[in-house]
């Protein structure tokens, strides 16, 4: 059951453009990869909460990995060890680990956060995921790839070719040989996800899960603000915060996205 919590930041690491905040969560706090926390940002509580995926630190502790995008995320990145965060969570539906011969994780930018957590979960189950991760350029990564390389089969992409493959995480994915039955787990910008969905075709969308980023107000399914179009007769919407943020690619109506 989710709850409203306050947790202390016990460790802070900066990896390139992203800041990792390791949280001292209460005993019994359990979360699945792909779930998120809805975090109060800014001192006065006058701005809406901001959703951030749960990730894990090198020692496997639950953490956030925040890339500054605006006021809220910048505020978060400026927090110091010892300060407390107020959040609701864990919220939403996480990834389901499929029964497949190959597990491919595809991360764009800060999309690495839930996938690192997922990779850890997979390793606990003795699976060997491979991970394609794309960023703008080498500096954006910082030292995180070195750490991740010890955790899974990692390949990198940068738009400018300064590190790894030249192109996006998606280009990297396209360039690699995969078995037809590989299960795919993706998190990143909207363009990346829809590009992937198109590329996958109908069969592939059955085995692909995507974590979508939608602006959120409540984060718990009450306001219907985070609607994503789903493939049903009524052309209706699902709430990304509650029915997602992880969806099977086939569940979403990519035409209406």
């Amino acid at each position: 059951m989710p709850a409203g919590y306050v947790a202390q930041i016990v460790e802070k690491n900066v990896f390139g453009c992203a800041t990792e905040l390791v949280l001292d969560l209460p005993r019994g706090f359990e979360a699945h990869p792909g779930q998120f926390l809805h975090v109060r940002c800014g001192g006065d509580g006058r701005i809406l909460r901001r959703p951030f995926s749960l990730t894990v630190s090198q020692r496997g502790e639950l953490a956030l990995l925040v890339r500054p995008a605006g006021e809220g995320s910048r505020w978060l990145c400026a927090r110091r060890v010892g300060e407390e965060l107020d959040f609701l969570g864990p919220l939403g539906r996480g990834f389901s680990i499929l029964d497949a011969g190959e597990h491919v994780l595809v991360a764009g930018g800060a999309g690495i956060a839930p996938l690192r957590f997922l990779a850890l979960d997979m390793r606990k189950r003795k699976l060997r995921p491979s991970l394609c991760w794309g960023m703008e350029n080498e500096e954006d990564y910082g030292t995180l790839p070195e750490i991740l390389a010890g955790e899974c089969d990692l390949s990198l992409a940068t738009r400018d070719g300064s590190a790894g493959f030249e192109g996006t995480a998606l280009d990297l994915l396209f360039s690699q040989a995969r078995t037809e039955s590989a299960a795919i787990y993706a998190c990143g910008p909207r363009d990346m996800l829809s590009g992937m969905a198109r590329w996958l075709g109908e069969a592939g969308r059955e085995r692909a899960q995507v974590s979508v980023e939608e602006r959120m107000a409540c984060g718990v399914g009450a306001c219907r603000g985070c609607a994503v179009p789903v493939t049903d007769a009524g052309a209706t919407y699902a709430a990304a915060c509650r029915e997602g943020p992880v969806f099977f690619a086939r569940e979403l109506d990519w035409e209406r996205m």
Binding site: A3, G4, G45, C223, C226, V228
Partner: protein
Amino acid sequence: MEAGLRTELAGIRMQNPVMVCSGTWGNGREYAEWIDPGALGGIITKSVTLRPCPGNPPPRIWETPSGMLNSIGLENRGLAAFLEEDLPWIAGFGVPVFVNVAGFSEEEYAEVAAEVCASGLAAAVELNISCPNVKKGGLHFSSSHEDAARMVSRVRERADLPVFVKLSPRLNDLKGMCAAVARAGADGLSLVNTIPAMSIDVERAVPRLGNVTGGLSGPAMHPVAVLAVWEAYQSVGIPIVGMGGIWGWEDAVEMIMAGATAVAVGTVNFVDPGAPLAVVEGIRGFMTRKGVARVGELVGLAHRGGFRDEGKGRAPGSG
């Protein structure tokens, strides 16, 4: 001193004057994980329409300074699902349920209101004739006093529960509108709905919301809502539920002093699910500190010259 939070709204008894706004609390399930719905003064459910309604295309929300825009557009699963699954569940907490009703024609409103009354599970009907987010319907029904009055009397004929009419603050003549719907049989007013507004992404030069326009809620618009309650209180005798940008107990007390018998909190739920109960506690504390015995004494107090003896913790004036 024990503060008397109990109040009565168009004959409906409430344990305290704090409700939750339509559309900001789903149909209760989501927030029931965080707070006890049974501790609320009442619950106003999300707008229900006769048939299921998919709502507007995303993006549906955008944050603005001290506020937010939404263009949800009446997304709901329709009356049948609501009466079967949602209403019985939410009525189970034993606090009055105000069912917010919307539609795309007068008949639809009347039909939905009648069925809600027939269910025996609601305490009142709240007519949303001020939704800025649907093209046909919504604000359309309050573009003139006559249209609004006709709608109210149509619904009134078929509803045997108190009918609250929810108005927009974007009215040239809010007082005249309040008087018109009161004459047409409204038992109470819900003031206010969001203010029509919009935002543009300058990098792309396109509206931020899929629906182009939306409604502004939150602290930014609170002073506009307070004035609406103030004006309504001056023009009609029926009770008012005050809403719009209530963030803490002070804002709620402000609404009550402006003339609201009860209040409803909306957007703040998104930031703090515990807010409605914090508002209840805050009002209680204020009353104790000021020596106010019943919350009803505060209703409209600012129209009567305020506390006679400010700051000294004495009882209100002619309350």
